[in-house]
């Protein structure tokens, strides 16, 4: 696969940067991702310079579970470049048709010498500085002015409409999937009756976890993997992170510290950001992914089966059911 990709990448470079005669000297797949096909490639330019790139493409049609829009991700990265309060990947090219790279694929500069924040947290004797960096980075991301974002990015008219839209998604899932319907209906009806205080809608990353923050000494942290970013309630990112199983989870290490730091960085109040509210937003932050899990599960057994990930992640549906019921219990 990587030989084919390397050859395709050379053709892409010849078209994108024809004067530099780039030669791909290595190309290896990055394993472990659930959604996109990623590879790390090193390019030797004619002038002797060497650069490393990350290729991030759609899986072949009918394969994979999590679906996201590469055009939208590219448009977002372009809009954020240089104006976002956080550092974002530098986009060097985009094969929008898959002509060279086999599927829609973006090419970004690799963060050379960077370590992901999760690894730094796991290695640290004192994790607090990394916790602060994580919280501050996402609070800054959430403060991104909405007017810099692509006009094509969906935005609700107000906070209540946004939340209702997410909960409507649960009702749609309940209508479609009978065996899960009672749980989903109960959760959505419960959530409608327990709305937390509103906050301004903002840029929400959608996959908030320390592995998506890369740290290079002497440089601002780099936030990667924007495929699920949207304009939503930023507290979704906090709720989403609470279920992250990678140790250490710095929210669960000290929830009150985490929340106080986020409140200070975001300017939100204790009514708007507290443990109960974050618990609630796990429901909201997981809605989109849950729907994709159901869609993938329905495709099992058909000719366009989405691969082994789909039956494997039926377990994730059960895990989410369990988490959702626990949240309703705790907050009732």
């Amino acid at each position: 696969m990587t030989d084919t990709l390397a050859a395709g990448f050379e053709r892409f470079l010849a078209a994108a940067e024809p004067d530099r005669a780039g030669r791909v000297t290595s190309c290896e797949e990055i394993t472990g991702g659930y959604s996109r096909i990623s590879a790390r490639a090193v390019v030797q330019w004619q002038d002797g310079a060497e650069e490393m790139f990350i290729l991030r493409g759609d899986p072949p049609a009918g394969r994979g579970v999590f679906v996201s829009d590469r055009d939208a991700e590219v448009a977002l990265l372009r809009s954020l470049q240089g104006v976002a309060p956080v550092r974002t990947p530098t986009l060097r090219g985009y094969d929008a048709t898959g002509e060279h790279l086999g599927s829609k694929c973006m090419v970004v500069e690799a963060a050379v010498g960077a370590t992901d924040l999760q690894t730094l947290m796991a290695q640290a004797d004192v994790v607090t500085p990394w916790t602060d960096l994580f919280i501050d980075t996402f609070a800054a991301l959430h403060s991104t002015p909405l007017d810099v974002l692509p006009p094509s990015m969906p935005r609700a008219s107000d906070w209540r409409s946004y939340l209702d839209g997410v909960l409507d998604g649960y009702e749609r899932m309940a209508d479609r999937y009978p065996s899960a319907a009672p749980v989903l209906r109960h959760v959505s009806r419960w959530a409608r009756g327990h709305r937390p205080p509103p906050v301004p809608l903002g840029l929400t990353h959608g996959d908030c976890q320390p592995t998506n923050v890369l740290v290079t000494p002497g440089a601002p942290p780099l936030v990667i993997d924007w495929e699920f970013a949207h304009i939503g309630d930023p507290r979704e990112d906090l709720g989403y992170y609470t279920q992250n199983p990678l140790a250490p989870n710095v929210y669960w290490a000290d929830p009150e510290y985490f929340l106080a730091r986020y409140r200070a960085a975001s300017g939100l109040s204790a009514d708007q950001v507290n443990a109960e509210v974050v618990d609630y937003f796990l429901l909201i932050g997981m809605a989109g992914l849950l729907e994709q899990l159901f869609v993938a599960a329905q495709a099992i057994g058909h000719d366009d089966r989405p691969g082994i990930l789909a039956p494997y992640l039926i377990n994730a549906i059960s895990h989410q059911h369990d988490m959702f019921l626990s949240i309703c219990d705790r907050l009732s």
């Binding site: 797949e29 394993t31 472990g32 991702g33 659930y34 959604s35 309940a174 009978p178 065996s179 319907a181 009672p182 749980v183 209906r185 109960h186 009806r189 419960w190 009756g193 996959d207 976890q209 592995t211 279920q243 992250n244 199983p245 990678l246 691969g307 082994i308 990930l309 039956p311 494997y312 039926i314 377990n315 994730a316 549906i317 059960s318 895990h319 059911h321 369990d322 019921l325 309703c328 219990d329 009732s332």
Partner: protein, 152 residues
Amino acid sequence: MISRPLTDQLVRDCCRELTEEVLPALADETLKLRLIMAVTVLENAAVRAAHEIAWMRSETGTAVAFAREVAAFRADERIEVALAEVEAGPHASLHLVDVVDVYERASRAFDVAVQVAHEAQAEHLIRRAADLLRARVDVERTVMAIYAVVGR
């Protein structure tokens, strides 16, 4: 029919073969990951094979009973229609597809009853629904078998 070993024993034997003999021979990290996922799915299937008909039969009865309980509290045509659909299901058959059919009809009746309970703000029924749902999800957790939550 050769009834023993049981289906779950056969599936688990395949899991063992894959884990102990095939997995160590693989060098490709992506293939290893796929094999581990496949073994997890087979472990899920083993649990289901041993119990799913009994579990679905039991949950069907519970769901219908709850729907009737809600209907007794507040008459609602949606529940009556859903319960009639359950009645019309292929109850006599133990073929899996038929058991699932009845189970899904009963789940729909349960779903409608949950809606009615919330609309009526009947706290005792909402609490009862939550308890029944917890029992359903506990079964789902049992099916998860060796699955471990990992980061995306």
